[in-house]
Symmetry: C2
Subunit: 284 residues, 2 copies
């Protein structure tokens, strides 16, 4: 049976790193702070927020939640966001997306201060990721994939990696981050003729498509490292990933469970990014 | 023998498209104009400039060359660039790179006006390319690859594509552009264990590494479409690409020659981008 890549372990280890850095900042009189901008009260936003609040508390990072009216206009939203940008006490800003329809995300991405943009909403951070400039802030979920690899000392450099899914929130940034580490990367998606053909060639297979158990046993070669970014609920109401875990776990050399895999690491990356942003803003 | 993908033909066809659009703009009283910013007088810059001047003339696009002193300071360069940004008569700006050492390209990329940035120097255009936002301006050489495919009615959607080379000026943007067309793409580079293994699986193989004839006959499968972005001079002083053309031409279904391939198309893309930028700036 493949070794489980335990997201909770990775998260705990990241928490220790981040907590220590946050405490060092506090000793210097700097209080790292995340401001969450939430429009309305979507249940999924609230669920993520609860996790984030808990994680920031564990990392000794202050948090403020700015809850805005679900009907807020573009003009007012931009005014509120600019105030957070300019607030010297805030080092990181997380905006829950998708935003309600009356708000123009395409315009708003240019408003968020890139140096506080801890989940890579700003085009400046997208561009930095694209050219491998590590001064930028990368998106949390794709970065969680990289943190799992790092924790288990899996160096992607020169490894044959295959990413299934090419969304702008998961597959594509995972591709960019793997390439930044000089992996050989193939990206497959809805138009790919035979994703399984590529997946079978992977030493590291990352899947983020949002289809319950899409990736079957015959997609995976003996010894593959499998990272599943999917979080789905199947027809029986059971939480599952994009990978048919039960039938793949014996073939894979290492594999993330769902739940308890990538999803467990995301808020720890968020905390790490708040501290990174805080240090950069203080010239540290 | 494989069909030649004739860059000169593609360039001529692009020229017709662009000339027509430039003339339509002129009929509206708008004169499309490119300003070239050149620091010093590097022979390679001058060679490219001559080609660009000729192409713009053929497309009825005005050009101004702003030649700056090779020793110009960062402050003065930024002042000059800002003046071009603000010049309402200029719709496109091309800055020859690499810039001399005393200039900080990393800072300058943020100065160039994204809407006039016809060769994708600005991070805003890099980010737009990364998320497939076609309002942006893409880099000319990688776009020349796409224009060759378009001209020969080769639709990359769903095709297995392999890019050899992951530089930020060729390989990586070619990857992004192919993925934006929903190709299945693999990118190989210096750390790849066996690029030939991937190359043999390509329906479309794009090579941009700068190594004379790196790609041998056994890298290519029968029927592959081969696009060679390399322009090298071999030991005998002969111009050649990154592909061993003589030994591959019979196996490939279509192949670009060097010279006469991708390199012949680049200034036509530049002209097309000046007209695109000009139209956008005039709300057309």
């Amino acid at each position: 049976m493949g070794q489980l890549l335990d997201g909770k372990l990775v998260a705990a280890s990241l928490k220790e790193e981040t907590l220590q850095q946050a405490n060092e900042l506090r000793e210097k009189g700097i209080v790292p702070k995340l401001t969450i901008v939430r429009v309305g009260a979507q249940p999924s936003d609230l669920a993520y927020e609860r996790g984030a609040l808990k994680r920031m508390a564990a990392c000794n990072i202050d948090v403020e939640v700015k809850e805005l009216d679900a009907e807020i206009t573009q003009e007012d939203f931009v005014k509120e966001l600019k105030a957070v940008n300019e607030d010297p006490a805030t080092h990181g800003i997380l905006i829950f997306r998708p935003l309600p329809k009356q708000l123009d995300e395409n315009a708003i991405q240019y408003v968020i201060a890139p140096e506080k943009d801890v989940d890579c909403f700003s085009p400046i951070n997208v561009a930095k990721m694209n050219v491998g400039d590590k001064t930028g802030l990368t998106p949390c979920t794709p970065t969680a994939v990289m943190e799992i690899l790092r924790h288990y000392e899996i160096n992607p450099t020169g490894k044959d990696c295959v990413v299934i899914g090419a969304s702008n929130v998961v597959g594509r940034p995972v591709f960019e981050l793997l390439l930044n580490e000089m992996a050989t990367v193939t990206i497959c998606h809805i138009e790919t003729k035979d994703s399984s053909k590529w997946a079978r060639q992977a030493e590291i297979l990352v899947v983020g498509v949002g289809v319950p158990r899409l990736v079957k046993e015959n997609w995976v070669s003996e010894g593959t490292i499998v990272v599943d970014v999917g979080i789905n609920v199947d027809k029986e109401g059971k939480m599952c990933g994009d990978v048919d875990f039960d039938n793949i776990v014996d073939k894979a050399s290492m594999i993330t469970p769902v739940p308890g895999g990538v999803g467990s690491v995301t808020t720890s990356v968020l905390a790490k990014h708040v501290v990174k942003a805080c240090k950069q803003q203080n010239g540290l």
